[in-house]
Symmetry: D3
Subunit: 143 residues, 6 copies
């Protein structure tokens, strides 16, 4: 889909490949299939972005020992709800929150809590996304 | 849809119930069915959020005598247009603006005016929402 | 302060000059000295921006008959509070709100109302700006 | 669709009409049919907004000699990606970027670069829009 | 500082007073003097805002049993870092984070983590605020 | 200033150190002393953030061949102006823009252009930052 491969070559060097594979293993452990799907969905249009989300976002940052996975997901939810316009990412990360042991009640409580800081509209939109994730979990095998 | 009812129980205490009912009456007076629909739509996924939008947002704040309903809707529109990503809320509140006597021409003028502060893209998106509301009013009985 | 005058020349054509002068008269009528000061403060660094804020923002938009000055200021306050990081602009426009007859109590009520849509932090920051404006009005001749 | 024509009359004065026509010619040169479609789509709901996007945004600003079209589109992309919630506008301007000679690889690189400043979610959303534009170009005659 | 007390009277009704006092006790428990100072600082300019931050934000929301204090602060930090322009609020809540047992290293890790979602600039600004809080804790008796 | 070094240790591994040094050389080439100062200023409070801004932001992203430095700075300016609240970062990157050959007139034109997408207030704030950078360049040896 891109007219040349220029500027993308380095993401397949041995060093970058090792970083990406490590990041993808972290991503799969947390986000399951939904996370892998994000990276895969970027393969045709912006493979370097997918590479760096995996290599940097998950391999370099998420995997750091300084914060437990539950805490990371709470920060992530707080940020995504406040940013707005991140419904697809919120969907992945509400799923990830469930995966690391945050309950459905806690997720809806997170959304209510965030409303104090970013207002009710963002919280309503996040609740709609949460419903989608919960329904998918109820009607399909969990990731 | 939630795994336990923990943390939600207090919204049905007599005091909270009275606050919610008062808020819902304010909400219904302003937003009509569209407002009730927002609260109802949260009943399964985040009832406490719905409760507090009614009890706090409408009962505690909107109902205060310090600002007339027309003024409150103008502030609301200014905020929602600028925030972006609040199309569902903008739809409810453009309807509410009509309900409190703000004309269609005034609403489109509000959107044009807001463009100076938040840029053209937010104004174009708000115009698309306004069209939806106006068409619904033209083709269905008003709320 | 700029290395060449290239690209700025057109703002002093007779047509643009007439548009700017008209806009500045609207601006002065609403914002008084504070508004003029904004345009003046851009004269050395970005005169074309100052020109277009006057010519477009005030001459083309604010002066349109479709919305009264009180309503325009309510929309402006709603947008600026929600955007955040616009404290200098909020200061000018809280002054302008007073100039068009919006009371101090209404301004603080606007800020409280906006909190439902954009959260408490933006409302607290806007309140700090309102205090500054009110104190300046109490200790100095009004613009 | 509006209840009166009040407040819109001035956009068809000879002076405003000349400004709009000039702006539309700039817009068509850059954005092609997609740009015209945006203005046309506002004709029923907010014609004054469409007028000022053409007259001011394109006639007054985009056409200024101080910055080449490629540079303007790079700034535009950086702004729209960071703002979020501007997917329809991003679609028009990714098309415009291709029109002024920015390659597909450069556009995806712009998106990756912007991620450092506004985070990964905005970049992922922008990539989805880029894919849509690229596919439309591959399957239909270019604008 | 306000021209009349109209519209503020209800915050001192017995019911509202009880709600505010409960909220203030929650606020003091979490945020210590810094939290009280925020409410106090609003007493002259926007007492109703101060009331509702205490009564609603802390009494109604923060005190709910559905999420532990540590989790609430992680969500709060994620939201405030992402919103940007909330440095005063971030200062209070970084202090609150320390109060509920989140370590300094965890706080800086939260900021680094949030950078993936909202970009590096917001994270750098948050780090500057964290330094201020940490220095104040090192040089003065803790709140 | 941090209570333990846990979680930070990996940024000094040979691999990370090489990545950081490479990133810092890119950063110094573009941003000069101002860029180094940003990283240095994070050394005490959030060294891992400083590391990753250098290693990822500059080494992995900025240094990619897919976009020339001038284009990267135009995208950066567009993003930072639109985000708002990024004045310190805007200051560094307006300096960087000058370093890669973008003229002062082009920078002010970039700011005016961005106003169409993110509104006048953000553009006025960015102009104030540009003035600071230009004055510093006039009164001190360039970085």
């Amino acid at each position: 889909m891109t007219d040349t491969a220029a500027g993308q070559h380095d993401i397949d060097s041995p060093g970058q490949l090792a970083r990406r594979r490590h990041g993808q293993s972290v991503l799969s452990r947390i986000d399951g299939h939904a996370g892998e799907a994000v990276i895969d969905s970027l393969a045709d249009i912006n493979p370097a972005l997918g590479h760096h989300i995996a290599a940097f976002g998950f391999g370099d940052i998420y995997d750091r020992p300084g914060l437990d996975p539950r805490s990371r997901q709470l920060v992530t939810l707080g940020s995504l709800i406040a940013l707005g316009g991140c419904e697809p990412q919120l969907k992945v990360h509400i799923g990830a929150a469930l995966n690391v042991g945050i309950s459905r009640d806690e997720i809806t409580e997170v959304i209510l809590h965030a409303a104090c800081y970013c207002g009710f509209p963002r919280a309503v939109n996040a609740s709609v996304v949460a419903r989608e994730v919960f329904i998918e979990r109820d009607t399909a095998p969990a990731t």
